[in-house]
């Protein structure tokens, strides 16, 4: 335990040093002020991640709600993967033996049977077992495993069936500013801030300076390596805005998931589903005659096979493509979070076998390694989502200006390009 307190002190010392360094460097060199601040923030984030993780897991060992068994750790990880209605950073038990939660409540907005109801999530008092009932405008709400249920009239408490599904409550449409929505808002504001300042720089100078110099190559990369080659020189301009937005949105949210604030936005299936549906709508709406022609009446195959192929193509286009998009992002990010948290939990699981120092060192080394891989995955998944979106859009808008050759029976002979398209 002293070791962790030592870590904690060390962290504060580093923070103070960074702040001090920032202060002096600000005074001394006003030129590189911004970049130093940026790197200071980055460094602080990187330093906090493991320390914060240590804090939350280790200190929860004390007190009544401590997490020390494997089942509890698994529950804790699964709980983290889900969305929550309050912004919870850290919990600990103070000297008086009370459980203290550090964080802040978020507004809950519900569209239920009696219209819209709003209240702050603090009214649930961190309860997620459906015990605390919040009464507003004649509606009674409970929070059961992170989801808010509206109790039916006359019910006094949440009743569950054998499979732990609520029986006397309905789910209202939960439009709350949950942790994920909060993360989305932050990511959106960050993007607006970064890129509108980059846009404003171009009015003054030709080549941006400072942080804009980092952003500009990324924008060019998305445009020249993702949009242009996959969609085609003629039409890529129309879709570049969407692709850029999605790329940076996913990337920033993936990176936010690696900070100790514990966002898991791109690991929410609703978020990835919305992103995939956007891509689906875009390529369905902008699909040209050739695209639909190749789906419903594939040229170059025997007539009898064409209806079967049409079904396969239609399912592939409308369901499998967006499904693979949404599941890939969701699964990669969720898996990353599970692995990272499990490796941090080694500290507790193997404490009996390796002792506090050994288990902490092992956990620290492994989680640092996976953390670096996850940094790469954060970029890679943003890249792949954008890349595949661009590819699907490009397939929908591709122009077939080449003539198909006809064989002796008047059927079109598929050329290499068609075969390649079908394959993809």
């Amino acid at each position: 335990m002293h070791l962790f307190r030592g870590f904690y002190l060390l962290f504060h010392y580093f923070c103070a040093r960074i702040r001090q360094a920032l202060f002096f460097s600000k005074e001394a060199m006003k030129i590189s002020n911004y970049s130093i601040k940026f790197f200071g923030v980055l460094l602080t984030c990187l330093l906090t991640i493991n320390v914060f993780a240590n804090e939350s897991t280790v200190q929860e060992q004390q007190g009544d709600e401590r997490i020390s068994t494997k089942v509890e750790i698994e529950e804790y990880i699964l709980h983290h993967l889900k969305d929550s209605h309050d912004f919870h950073l850290v919990s600990y038990t103070n000297d008086a033996g009370e459980r203290v939660h550090v964080g802040f409540p978020l507004p809950v907005i519900l569209y239920g049977n009696n219209g819209i109801t709003t209240f702050m999530s603090s009214e649930f008092h961190h309860d997620s077992d459906g015990k605390v009932i919040v009464e507003k405008n004649g509606n009674r709400f409970v929070n059961y495993h992170g989801k808010i249920y509206e109790l039916e009239a006359g019910a006094t408490e949440l009743a569950l069936d054998a499979e732990h599904h609520p029986v006397n409550a309905s789910k209202p449409l939960d439009l709350s500013i949950t942790k994920s929505v909060f993360g989305i808002l932050i990511a959106g504001l960050l993007m607006l801030w970064f890129f509108s300042s980059l846009a404003r720089q171009y009015k003054k100078r030709n080549i941006p300076k400072g942080f804009g110099r980092v952003l500009e190559p990324l924008v060019i990369y998305v445009r020249d390596e993702i949009a242009r080659p996959n969609i085609g020189e003629k039409k890529y301009k129309k879709f570049t805005g969407y692709l850029l937005t999605v790329f940076f949105f996913i990337w920033i949210l993936n990176l936010m998931g690696l900070t100790p604030f514990g966002f898991n936005v791109t690991g929410q299936i609703a978020v990835t589903a919305a992103l995939a549906v956007f891509t689906l709508i875009i390529y369905v709406v902008s699909g040209n005659k050739d695209f639909w022609g190749h789906i419903f009446w594939m040229p170059g195959v025997p007539i009898l096979i064409r209806p079967i192929l049409a079904i396969i193509e239609l399912v592939g286009t409308l369901i499998i493509k967006p499904f693979s998009l949404l599941v890939r992002l969701f699964a990669n990010i969720s898996a990353g979070h599970i692995i990272l948290m499990s490796l941090i939990a080694i500290m507790i699981n193997l404490k009996a076998d390796l002792g506090p120092i050994g288990s902490t060192a092992l956990s620290f080394g492994l989680s640092l390694f996976i953390f670096v891989i996850e940094l790469l995955v954060a970029f890679l998944q943003a890249y792949i989502f954008t890349m595949l979106s661009a590819l699907f859009i490009g397939m929908a808008v591709a122009e077939h200006d080449h003539e198909h050759e006809h064989d002796a029976h008047g059927n079109e002979v598929a050329d290499a390009e068609d075969i390649r398209e079908n394959f993809i």
Partner: protein, 66 residues
């Protein structure tokens, strides 16, 4: 726990298949790059796309079974 066993076996088979596929993609891409180093960028892009499609398939199967 016993009801989980078929799922876990299925997951194992999926992972074997996906691993074989990824290995084949990676190996072929390496060979192709070694043969034509100047086309490395194009090969990498194609490799990532195919790997992503395979990964999507594998994840889809894993989550369908979950």
């Amino acid at each position: 726990m016993e009801t989980m066993i078929p799922n876990l076996v299925g997951a194992g088979i999926i992972v074997i298949g996906a691993g074989y596929g990824l290995g084949k993609i990676g190996g072929s891409a390496m060979e192709a790059i070694a043969r034509q180093p100047e086309a490395a960028n194009k090969i990498q892009t194609a490799m990532i796309i195919i790997a992503a499609l395979l990964e999507g398939l594998a994840f889809g199967a894993l989550f369908l079974g979950k």
